[in-house]
């Protein structure tokens, strides 16, 4: 092959554009646009049905290993950020650009040039046409009343082949609606792209009194972190409650520390973020920030001793003697529950503070416990201390367990211990009598002659507890005794350079939609020609949308003309 031949074989520029043109046409076609919209809609459905960005182990459990790997490979667990979903959006942007590139020059030209004369065949195809036959008279006499009636219309006139054409337009700028809407969509998508590429959004947890400068966020299936150029200190966090116990307001008092200097201190609440150096700081969540917890360890070895333990939430308390560990997972200062029976008026009660811990030990099954500080009061009656216990370790499977005794009263614990000892020593042949006797003796052991006033209720609880407490497999029962509460405030920090772009696109979108949907381009032609020894006037009109309204408008114009035309019919008889 010679070089000459090779040159001939090479695609020329013109050929290249010839090849590109159909591609461009395809990309800008409506069919592609509608298919894209449909595919986007369908793809979006998947992401709403499949919960996004959950724990990987949850997915594995839910779908089994095979489907888990299939879904994972398709990126369905973080679908809206997968390459294929983003390319769909990219395609939409491309399609929009091509669509604009193809149509905007044409529309602009169309809006600029308006051909005044109109062919007879075009008139024939119009639905709204009316003719008047008038006597011969000067043109001006016909035109001036028409112009008078059509004051709100843009009118141009032209004469061709002895025929006078008047063209009136209303809403001829409506194609701007199309241009605005489509460029607005493009702008919004560009804004979104800017947000993703140049912005960030992540969370930080700041315990009260502490400071923090790192945020963490999910990217795909892994957690990433990012260091902020400043520190955030949480001075205070508080929750306001409605009388029914629902939270009313979450408030954090924050100080921004930039370059070692305190630059700004402010309160933030939900819906009212703080703004510093292009970063918005939102109140997002809260939780326990490591409260200090005091336990009473009610020993079950028969001695009746009460030990104490102290630990912070999120740490583990280890008891060297018994090998028991308590892993503190959460603390709540209030537990508001609806105590009413089903179908009864609601009755909210605060059950008081509680701590969650997992108890482990040699020869013990691990157990998750929520221990409440206060005894359970029902209808004014003390039903003793209770706890929620979950043997599976899952907080969802918490089951209430009454201990019978009111553990907040050490005397009652002592009484219970004495009762057990006295009971063991009594004659087991007459259990009822033995109970009474043992209790009386135990009372004397603990209180001597000064019986407390409410000893009957105490007796009930002690006898109840005998059925429960000795059966517990633990060396002691850790009961929440006291606490120094400390919250952490959950903040979300975000920077979004694309946001204002999105807002301007949105404004343009709404503006464009209103023009596009509410402004119709209405055209009227008035054709005046000499015919049948007189003059024939033709009125014709079309509208690009809303034919129902235009028909009405056309009729109104017709009626307004009728009067003038009636006069002109007579001709100039004077």
């Amino acid at each position: 092959m010679t070089w000459k031949k090779e040159l001939v074989m090479m695609p020329r520029m013109s050929q290249f554009t010839n090849f590109l043109k159909p591609v461009l046409l395809r990309l800008g076609s409506m069919t592609l646009a509608i298919s894209l919209l449909t595919v986007l809609a369908l793809a979006s459905v998947i992401g709403t049905v499949l919960l996004q960005n959950q724990d990987q182990s949850d997915y594995l459990q839910q779908f089994g290993p095979i489907w888990y790997w299939v879904f994972r490979a398709l990126g369905l667990f973080d679908m809206y950020h997968t390459w294929w979903f983003l390319s769909l959006l990219g395609f939409l942007m491309l399609s929009l650009s091509v669509c604009l590139y193809r149509n905007v020059p044409r529309f602009l030209k169309e809006m600029r040039t308006k051909k005044v004369p109109v062919s007879d065949s075009a008139i024939k195809h119009m639905e709204l046409v009316h003719h008047w036959q008038l006597a011969e008279q000067p043109l001006e006499k016909i035109i001036s009343p028409i112009k008078n009636q059509l004051k709100e219309w843009t009118i141009r006139s032209e004469e061709r082949n002895g025929i006078t054409y008047l063209r009136a337009d209303k809403g001829h700028y409506h194609k701007w609606g199309y241009i605005c809407v489509h460029s607005a969509m493009l702008i919004i998508l560009i804004g979104g792209w800017m947000s993703v590429h140049y912005g960030f959004r992540g969370n930080m947890q700041v315990p009260v009194g502490a400071e923090e400068h790192e945020i963490s966020f999910l990217q795909g299936t892994s957690t990433k972190s990012l260091v902020m150029p400043f520190y955030v200190r949480c001075n205070d966090f508080s929750i306001d409650f409605y009388p029914n116990g629902m939270p009313k307001e979450f408030k954090s008092n924050l100080t921004i520390i930039d370059g070692g200097k305190e630059v700004l201190t402010s309160d933030i609440i939900v819906n009212e973020p703080l703004y510093y150096k292009g970063v918005r700081i939102y109140q997002a969540s809260f939780g326990d920030g490591g409260s200090n917890i005091h336990f009473k360890l009610m020993k079950l070895d028969g001695t009746g001793d009460i030990d104490t333990a102290e630990a912070k939430v999120y740490t583990t308390y280890k008891d060297e003697k018994t090998g028991i560990t308590l892993e503190l997972t959460d603390f709540r200062p209030h537990n508001v529950e609806n105590m009413a029976e089903k179908d009864q008026p609601k009755d909210f009660q605060d059950l008081g503070a509680s701590v969650d811990y997992i108890m482990r030990g040699p020869g013990l099954k691990p157990v998750k416990i929520r221990s409440f500080i206060d005894p359970f009061i029902l209808d004014g009656e003390n039903r003793g201390t209770f706890m929620s216990v979950s043997f599976s370790g899952d907080a969802k499977e918490f089951k209430p367990m009454a201990l019978g005794l009111d553990m907040s009263n050490p005397k009652e614990w002592q009484l219970f211990q004495r009762f057990i000892i006295r009971l063991a020593a009594t004659d087991l042949k007459h259990p009822k009598k033995a109970n009474m006797q043992a209790f009386k003796l135990a009372m004397a052991d603990v209180f001597g002659a000064n019986r407390p006033d409410n000893f009957q209720a105490m007796a009930m609880r002690v006898i109840q507890a005998v059925q429960i407490i000795p059966r517990l497999p633990w060396p002691y029962i850790p009961i929440l005794d006291d606490y120094d509460q400390k919250y952490y405030t959950g903040l979300q920090l975000a920077q979004d350079p694309g946001m204002n772009v999105v807002w301007s696109g949105s404004a343009l979108l709404v503006f464009g939609l209103c023009i596009m949907l509410y402004i119709s381009h209405r055209k009227l032609w008035i054709i005046i020609r000499h015919e049948n020894d007189g003059m024939k006037v033709t009125l014709a009109g079309v509208s690009n949308r809303n034919p129902l309204n235009f028909k009405r408008e056309f009729k109104a114009i017709l009626t307004s003309f009728e009067n003038d035309m009636e006069q002109l019919k007579q001709g100039d008889k004077l």
């Binding site: 459905v45 992401g47 709403t48 979004d496």
Partner: protein
Amino acid sequence: MNVNVESTGMISQLYQGRPAFVRYWGYIGLILGAVGLALFGGDGYTENGYIFQLVGKDGFMWLGTGALMGSGLSIAYQTMRPVTKDSWIPQTMVPWFDVAAFMIILMAIFTLFEPTAEQVSYEDQSSLFAAHVIMTMNVLFIFSSVSYIAYLFAPESFIGKLATWTAWAGVYAGGSALLLRWYESYLFMDGEIGHAPVSNIYEVFILLFCIITIIYLQWEKRYDAKAMGAFVMVLVAAGVFFAIWLESVGQAEIKPLVPALQSYWMKIHVPMNFVGYGSFAVACGAGMAYLTRMWLETRDSKMVKVFPSLEQLDQLAYKSVAVGFPAFTLATILGAAWAAEAWGGYWSWDPKETWALIVWLTYGAYLHVRISHGWHGKTLAWWTVIGFLVTVFCFLGVNMYLAGLHSYGHLS
């Protein structure tokens, strides 16, 4: 096709020419007075404080002055420069202002029937009066839809009027009941939980009924499309039964607002969204009427005569979408603005957001094929029906089946 019949009674005089003009500026003055009160009245704007000011002496002074000044100035203007031609803005706006004013008056009357503060508590809201008004609304809407259906079989003008009037009465009952609930939310817990009545699914349902009915009644008035009412009002009636069920499971109670909802955006975003949903429902009604008429035509049924023409129904469906689509777009944008303020990002691919996008894409595609491809008729009628199903899922299904940030509309 009927062109509006101009009546010349005493009442219609109020909506034309000079009375309409003066009343329009009176209302504008009233609104400006309310704005002035918010900006300059009292010391600093707080939402609850403002509401109490509005209904108190301050409100009376500011709003009254505004209304008097507005109407006074317009009378002066009219005497100086008499306007010969009616301008359309007062003529269009005044009836709407009247509807709002009438609802507020009704609500004020209803407050007289409210039990005393000792008889109501947060735990027991059964004695509140709004429940009765809502029940009346339910009955009216169901009656109206039955009448519209009866009208298809017996197109007597009496039945038609009855259907229209009960529908209007239902709108007034619903609107005033919502306002009454706003008032009632201040009755207990020392007024601490007072909030606009668009905070839970039960309240927005009532709003939705009213919006659907109002949009439909506009089409009926302007385009004489009475047969369409049977289809639109049946949707409303179905919704009414759902709302009755909601009430029976305790979803109708006035509850405090969670912190995320305590924002002025709620009052803008939610009603705007329901203008969108409501018009899509009306479009669906028109689409169903279209399909029914087509079916009746194949069977040479006599009932066809009652229906508007296919072209008209097609147009009405489009018109409804044309009302709903910009409203829905704006509502979604407002929602994004709120999300940017409350959650730190304007778009989080939350199920509700995503489904709003799906709805938007559905109707966006509808407008594309209609405007650019010139599609008409049967396919588009089906499109409006299916589009509405998608809308219903976005509005209800998401709350029922999918968890997410919008879970305060959650059904238990």
